[in-house]
């Protein structure tokens, strides 16, 4: 009961901050709402007894990536109204398509998982995970079941990093 209350309160906060992120007129405020959003998600992880994920969420997203966002937002001219605001229909078709695709995808996943309740795996130590403890289980799963997505993600990040370095060098 208590958990459910906490969950719905947090969910309300997360959605509320999410809405504020896209409606705030001031870009810096928008970024700040994003941070608040991430922090609430971290709390949600704690409620789910996933402390490791919660801390990583704060450390990587709130403490790392968004700081860089803020850095960029502060550097570019804030007073000028973004072009997208001047012409609301600009790229609206593409946006509509993307949102629809996302929506369809979410619904599909929900329907799919509702039909197969056993498919949602839990992080609780099971017979095939020989370690206990939050961090250890995450590590175990990452390097066994999810090794290929993990490696793909790291290759992607490597490519992004090389690309960034190339771009930076070209300007210099």
């Amino acid at each position: 009961m208590l958990e459910a209350v906490v969950f719905y309160v947090l969910a309300a906060f997360i959605l509320g901050f999410g809405v504020l992120v896209i409606t705030a007129r001031n870009t810096v405020h928008s970024v700040l709402f994003l941070v608040a959003n991430f922090l609430c998600v971290a709390v949600l992880y704690v409620v789910l007894a996933a402390e490791f994920l919660a801390v990583i969420q704060v450390l990587v997203y709130a403490g790392g990536i968004v700081v860089l966002y803020l850095f960029v937002v502060m550097l570019v001219n804030l007073r000028a109204v973004p072009e997208a605001r001047l012409d609301p229909r600009r790229q609206s078709r593409l946006g509509f398509l993307l949102t629809t695709a996302l929506l369809v995808e979410v619904i599909a996943i929900m329907v799919y998982s509702a039909n197969r309740p056993g498919a949602v795996s839990t992080l609780a130590p099971t017979a095939d995970v020989p370690v206990s403890g939050n961090t250890e289980v995450v590590g175990w799963l990452l390097y066994t079941d999810y090794l290929i997505p993990f490696e793909v993600a790291s290759v992607l990040l490597l490519v992004a990093m090389i690309g960034a370095i190339l771009l930076a060098r070209k300007e210099a």
Binding site: L75, V76, N77, A80
Partner: protein, 366 residues
């Protein structure tokens, strides 16, 4: 890709490390300085105009108020110029004591420079160490003339006061203290890795360019030009003493620092020689009751702690005030090099360079 524009920031006139009311308008690209405009005049009191309305004796104490951390040097330059205009002979004892006072003043001024320069770079302990020694000099001056900052310590034709009894012993004791303390300063800075990184290669200016842009004093010597008025055009009693003129090699902030540190030692050397050879005799030459130099004009320069301080004085021979009184302020001329020096450096180097050329705004603006 992005709309990048230069950031214009206004450093001063109220800023902790512009050494007074200097204002530097910096155009920044990130933290890099792409342009600088130096705005001065916030302390302009019209001293030149004022001196054209004060009689010859009263001017001595107005000169105190220009470079107020080196008042005795200002006094010396002025009285020697008037003596040159009147062709007065100054007794040797007065010349020796003047030399001692000027060198003590140089040490005091360099102490202040060292403290503030190090403070600008974030080394705050050096500041208090240097001020501790400066305090001793102020005590010596207080013993001599009763004042601690604006001394009014010279008279046309000599000195108003002879040295008090046992003063020379105190000066000697001070020289011994200073020689050990200079090592203390060097201990904290000279081989400090961070200090080296902050000063080496910062604000490099070559000898020829430094001359062309009008640098003088330690700032010019740091660029390797052995120019020192004390050696080249000896005044007071400098011709009687042995001392070296330290010069730098690279012309950067670090060399200017080293030059001034060495000048501490050379100054105590001069003071010791002057005390050893201090002649007996009068302290005031044959000066007419009413000072009224003959009509004519002259320029005379001495080596102040900041550089060449020159006085250009025109007398009309009739009135008891100078017709034209002009100071060539070393801080003003040295400050002119600042925009050139900070070009392409970072904001943090701006304060290092302001400290490095050692300005006093009282003298820049007059």
């Amino acid at each position: 890709m992005f709309d990048t524009s230069e950031l214009v920031i206004n450093m001063g006139p109220q800023h902790p490390s512009t050494h007074g009311v200097l204002r530097v308008v910096l155009r920044l690209d990130g933290e890099r300085v792409v342009g600088a405009d130096v705005v001065i005049g916030y302390l302009h009191r019209g001293i030149e105009k004022l001196c054209e309305h004060r009689d010859w004796l009263q001017i001595v104490l107005i000169t105190d108020r220009m470079d107020y951390v080196a008042a005795a040097s200002n006094n010396l330059g002025y009285v020697e110029t008037v003596e040159k205009l009147m062709s007065l002979e100054v007794p040797p004892r007065a010349r020796y004591i003047r030399t001692i006072l000027a060198e003590l003043q140089r040490i005091a001024s360099h102490c202040l420079w060292l403290g503030t320069h190090a403070m600008d770079l974030g080394a705050m302990t050096v500041f208090l160490y240097a001020f501790r020694e400066r305090e001793l000099i102020l005590d010596l001056f207080e013993d001599y003339c009763g004042a601690r900052l604006t001394y009014n310590a010279m008279r046309i034709g000599g000195l108003p006061l002879d040295i008090p009894p046992r003063w020379d012993e105190k000066v000697r004791a001070f020289c011994d203290i200073l020689d050990t303390k200079v090592y203390e300063y060097e201990e904290l800075l000279t081989r400090n890795r961070i200090f080296l990184e902050r000063t080496r290669g910062v604000g490099v200016i070559g000898g020829d360019e430094a001359i062309a842009i009008g640098l003088s004093g330690p700032a010019l010597r740091g660029s390797g030009v052995p120019r020192d008025v004390r050696k080249d055009e000896p005044y007071a009693a400098y011709a009687d003493f042995e001392f070296n003129v330290p010069i730098g090699m690279a012309g950067d902030t670090y060399d200017r620092y080293l030059v001034r540190i060495e000048e501490f030692r050379q100054s105590t050397r001069i003071i010791r020689q002057a005390l050893d050879g201090l002649p007996a005799g009068p302290i005031l030459g044959k000066v007419p009751r009413l000072i009224k130099p003959p009509a004519g004009e002259t320029y005379h320069a001495i080596e102040s702690p900041k550089g060449e301080i020159g006085y250009f004085i025109v007398s009309d021979g009739k009135s008891n005030v100078p017709y034209r009184f002009r100071v060539r302020p070393p801080s003003f001329c040295n400050l002119q090099a600042l925009p050139r020096l900070i070009q392409g450096h970072l904001v943090a180097d701006v304060v290092a360079l302001i400290g490095s050329i050692d300005i006093v705004l009282g003298e820049v603006d007059r």
